[in-house]
Amino acid sequence: MPLLRPDPTFYPSPRKAMEAPPEKLAYVATLNYGNGRPDALAVVDVGPDSAKYSQIISTLEMPHVGDELHHYGWNSCSSALCPYAPHPHLERRYLIVPGLRSSRIYVIDTKPDPAHPHITKVIEPEEIKRHSGYSRPHTIHCGPEAIYVSALGSGETGEGPGGIFTLDHFNFNVQGAWEKDRGAQKLAYDFWWHIAYDVMITSEWGRPSQFENGLILEDLLGSRYGHNLHFWDLRRRKNIQTVDLGKEYQLVFELRPAHEPDKQYGFAGVVLCLKDLSSSIWVWHQENDRWAVKRVIDIPAEPADPKDLPPPLKDFKAVPPLVTDIDLSLDDRYLYVLCWGTGELRQYDVSDPFHPKLTGSVQLGGIVRRQSHPKSGPLLGAPQMVEISRDGKRVYFTNSLYGVVDDQFYPDKLSGWMVKVDVKPEGGIELDRDFFIDFGETRAHQVRLQGGDASTDTFCFPS
């Protein structure tokens, strides 16, 4: 049914979105790696007054085995209010869920019952390849005029350049490759934009053969994974600038531009510095009409006994923080940084993006520490994927990175779990001792919150 009024989850500005009612449901991509069962989308009850608080209330299994569900997103969001292509009467209703390994995309309908979603369309890998040339779909962002999807591979072998393709808003048909001129860009991973400035930013992981059988140590030590940020003219689909962070900075992952549309800066997380195994956070910003970057956070590796370390790390006698996900609250105040190696969730006050202040920390899991939750025994895995509620008061996270890479760093086979922290009004974070979900041998990855969250919305109007 067409809507006569805008979808109530659309907000013109990030500040307005912070007034949204708290979420009652969370959707979690879960994967079954190597046990012959299909991946699934779990629905978790996050309503604090609900009798089923912190429980899985339904599970939607995919019809195929081995998709490797990874990042996913909503079909539409607040960007539908953007004035150059307004579609305010679209609904935030469908989850667009790509399989990173299978290159298949599921369109999952959260209506009529949001607690029991169902698959409404399957976009097969052949269709994606035929219309766009791409494979290995990854990040989803709801644009004003189309759904944008990043893809890590292309061509017959999949080893061609990764990039971006778009889906039609209304029927989810694959429209085609997005780029007109990719310049020096070959590797892909995350992307987002400064929509009010018509600028897109993309980051780099590696070619599919560099991760599908696990990270390759020689490639890492040889600096053959991604170490660039790319800036694009969103309107003309053209790479306007490539910024090299330095060859020693390997695996440029998550991108979190400021939500406020009149700001022009954002944060990029880099997994590994080859010199000292540290992770780092970089700020991109405008300098004399060009894009510049500055490293603003370094998180050092922690010394460790080789007998406690998995094979790839034994020689280094240290456990790297392995920051693989970051997330920025809607008021652009707090940046959450997840250390998947050492087992820590950090909160930084980034009101001044060039001088972040560490304001909170929660330790959980970790390669060496295996820190337990009040409701669990020692935990394998560590904070890996994070999502912040729109009001900025609750932060949810899960512990799996990518099936085969999980096993490289946690060879004792981690099981999936999901945890929540509460954010104190004056800053600082505290573990919710009642919230712990054990997914068993199934692993848990991306979390999406009902009605929207801090990494799925784009706003066109300044607060």
Partner: protein, 195 residues
């Protein structure tokens, strides 16, 4: 939607003046689109009888109304947020064209043609002037209304207006096209009987 674009530019540049500056090319684009339809109406009107012109207008409106009812959610693809004045002109022209804004006033244009020439169905200079005058009046009225809405939202109502009060004009517009088309058809049939 011109008022929304103007509003967002005003907000982005933090200037009420930007609203009015951007409304000028938006109105001009809209007027150009309508003028094109007017020229078409007048051109076709000089070739066929007034009665046929009325029928043609009505049928086109109804057909376009049905098309918009099915695809009310589609907009012409536009490209970005950083727009120059000529971009706004082109955007407005395309939007007006795709939404059938000119078509909507075609029955009035036909009526003006009808009233201005006596006996002959050829377009006279005076009816041409009248058409242009109608377009100018329509455009000025639109400019004032768009400016007023954008200004009120900018200065008083605030952004939450967008959430609460942005009714689905696309759907209503499709309905309006059908209503005007039906009225035009009725006028054509009834008017035809009288001659």
């Amino acid at each position: 939607m011109g008022w929304l674009f103007a509003l967002s530019l005003g907000l982005q540049q933090k200037s009420g003046r930007a609203i009015w500056v951007s409304l000028v090319p938006i109105s001009a684009g809209h007027a150009t689109s309508i003028a094109l339809v007017a020229v078409l109406v007048a051109g076709i009107g000089s070739m066929i009888s007034l009665q046929s012109l009325r029928l043609l207008t009505a049928v086109t409106l109804l057909g376009f109304g049905v098309y918009k009812l099915i695809t009310y959610y589609r907009h012409p693809k536009w490209v970005g947020m950083r727009v120059k004045l000529h971009d706004l002109f082109l955007w407005s022209f395309l939007m007006a064209f795709a939404h059938g804004a000119g078509l909507m006033i075609a029955p009035i244009l036909v009526g003006l043609l009808d009233g201005s020439h006596s006996g002959t169905h050829h377009v006279s200079a005076s009816s041409g002037m009248l058409l242009m005058l109608a377009i100018v009046v329509h455009t000025l009225a639109m400019l004032v209304v768009m400016g007023f809405i954008a200004w009120i939202v900018y200065t008083r109502l605030g952004l939450m207006f967008l959430r609460r009060s942005w009714v689905n004009f696309d759907l209503i517009w499709a309905g309006a096209l059908l209503v005007v088309g039906a009225l035009a058809l009725w006028g054509a049939v009834a008017g035809g009987g009288m001659h």
